[in-house]
C-alpha cells in the first residue's frame, strides 16, 4: 500500500469513526440525568432581583422523579436539580421544607452563612442560626473551581414541626412545610453546585450514600447566565 493511499484510509477511518463517537458522546450528554430547568422568576418593579422557590421533600413521590417516584421513591429529594439564575443579581430564595429531621452531625452547619445580612427568615422569624438538634436538611451552595466567582451560601433548613397532613402534591399528603427565606447575590456567569450537608443516606459510615451521593436528589446545579 503506498503512502498516500494509506494516509487516505487513515484519515477516512478517523473521520468516520470519530463522527460516530461524537454522536455517541452527544447522546451521552443529553442522557445525563437533569430535570427541566427552573428559571428564577423576575420580580416586578425591581431590576437585578429575582425570586426562586424550591422545596425539600421526605420522599420522591411529588412528581419530580417520575409518576411513581422514580427508581427510589423512598429517597428524600430537593424539588429541582437544575436552576438558572441571572448574573450579578440578588436572588430572593424560598425553600419549603417538608421533611422531619434530627441532630446535625457537624454543628458547624447550624449557622446561616453567605446570605444578605447573614440572616434567614424561618416561618416569619429572622435568625442567624438554628437549633443544631432539630435540622431537616441544609442548602449549601458553592461555586465550582474554574467557574464563576467565589460564592458560598449555607442555610440550615429546620425540621418540619407541623403534623397536619394538609398539603396534597401529586396525590400524596404532606404536612404543612416550614418556610425558609433568604437572599444572596450572584456574581459572574458560571456553574455552581449545591448539596445538603446533613447526611441521611443509608451507608454505615457518614450516611452519605444513596440520596446524598446520587445526583438529582440531594444535590444539583445552579447555572448563572
Amino acid at each position: 500500500m503506498n503512502r498516500s493511499k494509506s494516509l487516505g484510509i487513515a484519515l477516512a477511518s478517523v473521520l468516520v469513526i470519530g463522527a460516530a463517537l461524537g454522536l455517541a458522546g452527544f447522546a451521552l450528554a443529553s442522557a445525563s440525568p437533569h430535570q427541566t430547568p427552573l428559571v428564577c422568576a423576575a420580580v416586578q418593579g425591581q431590576s437585578k432581583t429575582c425570586s426562586l422557590t424550591m422545596a425539600t421533600y421526605p420522599d420522591s413521590g411529588e412528581g419530580v422523579h417520575g409518576k411513581d417516584g422514580g427508581p427510589h421513591p423512598d429517597w428524600v429529594t430537593y424539588s429541582n436539580d437544575n436552576v438558572i439564575l441571572p448574573a450579578n443579581s440578588t436572588i430572593d430564595m424560598t425553600i419549603d421544607q417538608y421533611d422531619s429531621g434530627g441532630s446535625l452531625n457537624d454543628a458547624f452547619f447550624d449557622q446561616i452563612m453567605g446570605t444578605t445580612g447573614g440572616t434567614a427568615t424561618i416561618d416569619g422569624k429572622t435568625v442567624t442560626h438554628v437549633d443544631p438538634n432539630n435540622v431537616g436538611h441544609t442548602f449549601t451552595l458553592r461555586n465550582i473551581p474554574g467557574s464563576g466567582t467565589y460564592l458560598f451560601v449555607s442555610v440550615p433548613l429546620p425540621a418540619d414541626p407541623n403534623t397536619d397532613n394538609s398539603v396534597v402534591l401529586n396525590g400524596t399528603h404532606y404536612n404543612k412545610p416550614v418556610v425558609v427565606q433568604f437572599s444572596f447575590k450572584t456574581g459572574t456567569k458560571g456553574v455552581y453546585e449545591f448539596n445538603c450537608e446533613f447526611p441521611c443516606g443509608g451507608s454505615r459510615q457518614g450516611q452519605f450514600g444513596e440520596a446524598m451521593s446520587t445526583f438529582g436528589y440531594m444535590s444539583g446545579t445552579f447555572t448563572v447566565n
Binding site: 453546585e193 459510615q205 451521593s213 444535590s219
Partner: protein, 244 residues
C-alpha cells in the same frame, strides 16, 4: 569498523547527549519554580528545590536515552524489506555492566540521602509552642476550629511565622487535606486523627484542596486560606461568632 571510526561516529552521540542535557538542565532550573504554586512555607521551598535537584540529576539520564535512541536509528538503522546482515555478536561486556550498576547505584543513593535529609528537615519541630488547628473534612467541605477559642470557620486563617500543627479528621469518608502553597498534605480519616506541621512564612492567600477522592463533589472541595499578621489573626478570631 575500526576504533577511530567508532570514536568519530560516537561524537554525534556525545553532542546530542550534551546539548540534550543542557536543555534539560535549563528546563529543570526553570520549570519547577515557574509552574509550582507560590511557596508560602519552608516545606514548600524545600519541595521546589528538591524538584529542581532531582530534575537536574535526571537530565543527563533522559537526554542520554533520547540521544542513544536517535543515534541508534540514524547510525545503525537499516531500512528496506531485506533482513539486515548479522551484526557483531557481542554477548556481554562486564565492564559496562559494572560501570552502569555503579553509576546508577551512586545516583540512587544520592537521591535517597537527599530525600531522607529533606524528610527529616520537614519533620523537625521548631520546638516552639505550635498553634493547633483542628481540621474536619466532611463531604464536601472543610471546616477549621481553633482549640481554646470557640471559633469554627470554613476559611483557614493563620498567623505568619508561627508553627502550626494541624490535627485532621473526617466525619465520613477519607478526604485529603492539602495546603497547596505549603507543600504538606495528609489524609483525613474517620475515627482517627492524623497530624502535619508547617510554618507559614509569607503573607497572602492560599488554597486548600481535597486530594483524596471522596465522592460526588470531590472536585469542588476547595477551601480558602489566609496568612495574616499576628494582630490581624487575633482580631479575626475575636470577630468570629462564638460557638458552643
Amino acid at each position: 569498523m575500526s576504533d577511530t571510526d567508532n570514536k568519530k561516529s560516537l561524537k554525534s552521540f556525545y553532542w546530542m547527549w550534551g546539548i540534550g542535557t543542557v536543555i534539560a538542565v535549563l528546563l529543570s532550573l526553570w520549570a519547577p519554580g515557574h509552574f509550582m504554586p507560590r511557596s508560602m512555607s519552608g516545606n514548600m521551598r524545600l519541595t521546589i528545590l528538591t524538584m529542581v535537584v532531582f530534575s537536574v540529576a535526571a537530565a543527563p539520564v533522559v537526554a542520554g536515552v533520547y540521544a542513544i535512541a536517535i543515534y541508534a536509528i540514524r547510525t545503525w538503522g537499516v531500512h528496506g524489506d531485506d533482513i539486515p546482515p548479522p551484526a557483531e555478536q557481542v554477548r556481554d561486556n562486564p565492564k559496562s555492566v559494572g560501570t552502569w550498576l555503579l553509576v546508577s547505584t551512586v545516583l540512587t543513593v544520592f537521591l535517597l540521602v537527599w530525600g531522607l535529609t529533606a524528610l527529616a528537615a520537614d519533620n523537625a519541630s521548631t520546638g516552639k509552642n505550635p498553634l493547633v488547628v483542628d481540621v474536619t473534612g466532611q463531604q464536601w467541605l472543610w471546616s477549621f476550629s481553633y482549640p481554646g477559642t470557640h471559633v469554627q470557620s470554613n476559611e483557614l486563617y493563620l498567623p505568619v511565622n508561627r508553627e502550626v500543627e494541624f490535627r485532621v479528621t473526617s466525619d465520613d469518608v477519607t478526604h485529603g487535606f492539602w495546603i497547596v502553597n505549603m507543600g504538606v498534605q495528609v489524609d483525613a480519616n474517620p475515627g482517627t486523627i492524623t497530624t502535619i506541621h508547617t510554618t507559614p512564612n509569607r503573607l497572602g492567600d492560599f488554597t486548600i484542596r481535597c486530594e483524596q477522592f471522596c465522592g460526588l463533589n470531590h472536585a469542588f472541595m476547595d477551601a480558602n486560606g489566609h496568612v495574616v499578621t499576628s494582630q490581624q489573626f487575633n482580631s479575626w478570631l475575636a470577630a468570629q461568632p462564638q460557638r458552643a
